[in-house]
């Protein structure tokens, strides 16, 4: 009789849910906090790390560098970065560098250092050193400076964040993370990606959607401005002229 070899341990999986999947932006909106709860299922109880990445809708970034010309600080030509999210947050149980190596992090776009943003307009293809079709960046060695500047300015605006202790295990296998949206966060569809790392490798990935949308009066006015721009313009001018006239009429009587 052949003794069956012990079956390979079942693969670990991660599961998560957002406490809110819809953020309504009304006139009182001053930002939102959304809590994410999740659980790790691993019969073998291997050491696990969780990384949560939240990306907002894509927004091209225009950035310029000031330089001193004849005593005046002037903007140089602006550089456009494509593919940049309007909001980005990376939270993890430990510093990302301890969780996984360069390769997996880069592939998953995990962490501000691995954010996939590029300035395609600043690249051109040319023949160099006899090699054809080489992609050359006009920014040259400065490229990293520009990239760092984008991340730094967006972080200062509260739109990009990285927290190496942002995911906490609150109970055995149960973890929690918090997403803070500032009032300036862009409107649109957000994606929260929850990645379970074991032994430096991503073993399970879950995606959760989050929608930030205008609601109520904000939405009505916004749609009015976008769908009937000329009528909207006329209405706003009539409101202005009417208010001016009303004030002068009121003051005449008094």
């Amino acid at each position: 009789m052949i003794v069956a070899a012990p079956p390979p341990p079942a693969p670990a999986a991660v599961s998560a849910a957002l406490t809110e999947t819809q953020v309504r932006v009304t006139s009182g909106f001053r930002g939102a906090r959304i809590v994410l709860y999740g659980a790790v299922f691993d019969p073998a109880d291997r050491p696990s790390d969780v990384v949560v990445i939240v990306r907002g809708p894509e927004q091209p970034i225009r950035i310029a560098r000031k330089s001193r010309v004849a005593g005046l600080w002037l903007n140089g030509r602006p550089v456009v970065f494509r593919g940049a999210p309007g909001f980005y947050m990376a939270a993890s149980t430990r510093p990302l560098g301890e969780i996984a190596g360069f390769g997996p992090l880069r592939r998953l776009g995990a962490g501000l250092d691995h954010l996939a943003i590029a300035a395609p307009l600043e690249q051109r293809v040319e023949t160099r050193y006899g090699v054809r079709d080489m992609v050359v960046s006009r920014l040259g060695a400065d490229y990293l400076d520009w990239r760092r500047a984008v991340v730094r300015l967006k972080t200062e605006a509260g739109l990009y964040a990285a927290d190496s202790a942002g995911v906490r295990f609150v109970d055995k296998n149960l973890f929690r993370a918090q997403i803070s949206l500032p009032a300036e966060a862009p409107i649109g569809r957000y994606e929260a990606r929850i990645i379970l790392f074991q032994d430096g490798k991503p073993v399970s990935i879950r995606d959760r959607d989050l929608v930030v949308e205008k609601a109520g009066l904000e939405r009505t006015l916004y749609l009015f401005a976008k769908q009937r721009p000329w009528t909207y313009g006329l209405v706003s001018v009539i409101v202005a002229l009417g208010a001016g006239w009303a004030a002068s009429a009121a003051f005449r009587r008094s």
Binding site: V25, T26, S27, G28, F29, R30, G31, Q59, P60, I61, R62, I63, A64, R65, K66, S67, R68, G71, L72, W73, L74, N75, G76, R77, V80, W146, A149, V150, R152, L153, K154, A157, A183, E184, P186, L217, E218, R219, L221, A225, K226, P229, W230, Y232, G233, L234, V235, S236, V237, V239, A240, L241, A243, G244, W245, A247, S248, A249, F251, R252
Partner: protein, 307 residues
């Protein structure tokens, strides 16, 4: 109390904006200017995207100006005919200015153009007005008779064709200089996000030599026409007018403008001009300062322009 603005997409302190509108409205009614040169920089400083600030500000200027134009027209000191001639030039200028501004934004030099125009135009006009009005005040203090006004106007006003009578201003001049003045002011309005009163008022006094008492009302009348049109154009073409922001500003603005127009009777004309000159000069220098001071971060994100 904070309010989220639907077009600007930022949260702002509502009472603060109403108060700001009132202060600028008061200044507007007092000096016969739109007040855009004050309001636009302040709004941008508060974090409102410049494109939205410029467009919504035009709406607020229209409101506070209409409020004071009515007050001035009751005193019969508005030259509607001159205002209409200036505005016809202003409309052409605004259209040109919008295109120029779009091109400047494309090459990333809009910031520079705005700072430089503030520095140059506000600086020069403020400086000239300050010297002139301080001179007038000093002469009066010393008991000297006011400097006789040169009655001979520039010959060009008469030599050009298309002459028109302006009874309120007691002028019979060619319409070409006022139209050109209107075009010039229109271009600047689009670039700087202002009504252009701070250029119109001195230009009407020193170039067209209109009687001082009709200058303020007439300037405001032309501002109402151009900013009203700019508002509709901005909303129609760029969808950048934030009606909530404009309403907050104009609630304070129209009341302030009325108080300002009333208060203006209590000051002498040259004292008012000296005050306005000081204000213009300060804003111009403040805006130009950014060109000379080393920035804390050499990189800038171009918000609202990246679209």
């Amino acid at each position: 109390m904070h309010l989220y603005l639907p077009i600007a997409e930022v949260s702002v302190n509502a009472p603060l904006l109403v108060a700001l509108g009132a202060v600028v409205g008061f200044i507007s009614g007092l000096f016969g200017i739109g007040g855009g040169f004050l309001m636009t920089p302040v709004l941008v400083l508060m974090g409102i995207p410049p494109v939205v600030a410029v467009a919504s500000e035009a709406n607020h200027v229209a409101a506070s100006s209409v409020s004071s134009v009515i007050a001035y027209s009751r005193k019969r000191v508005v030259d509607f005919r001159m205002g209409a001639v200036l505005a016809s030039g202003g409309v052409v200028g605004a259209v040109i200015g919008v295109e120029v501004f779009r091109w400047l934004r494309l090459i990333g030099q809009a910031d520079l153009a705005v700072s430089l125009s503030y520095l140059v135009f506000l600086g020069v006009i403020g400086g000239l007005m300050l010297t002139e009005s301080l001179g007038a005040i000093l002469r009066r203090r010393r008991g000297e008779p006011p400097k006789p006004r040169r009655e001979r106007r520039p010959l060009l006003l008469y030599a050009l064709p298309l002459k028109l009578k302006f009874p309120r201003s007691r002028l019979y001049i060619s319409v070409i200089p006022p139209i050109l003045l209107g075009v010039f002011v229109g271009i600047l309005s689009a670039i700087m996000g202002v009504g252009g009163g701070f250029i119109l008022v001195p230009a009407m006094v020193y170039l067209l030599r209109m009687p001082a008492k009709v200058v303020v009302g007439t300037s405001l009348f032309q501002i109402v026409i151009t900013t009203g049109l700019t508002s509709v154009l901005q909303a129609g073409r760029n969808q950048t007018v934030d009606i909530v922001l404009a309403t907050l500003l104009l609630i304070g603005g129209v009341v302030g403008a009325q108080l300002g127009a009333r208060a203006s009777g209590r000051f002498r004309a040259e004292e008012l001009r000296a005050l306005l000159a000081l204000l213009v000069l300060l804003v111009g220098l403040r805006m130009g300062l950014g060109l000379f001071v080393t920035p804390s971060d050499p990189f800038v994100l171009m918000t609202g322009a990246g679209g």
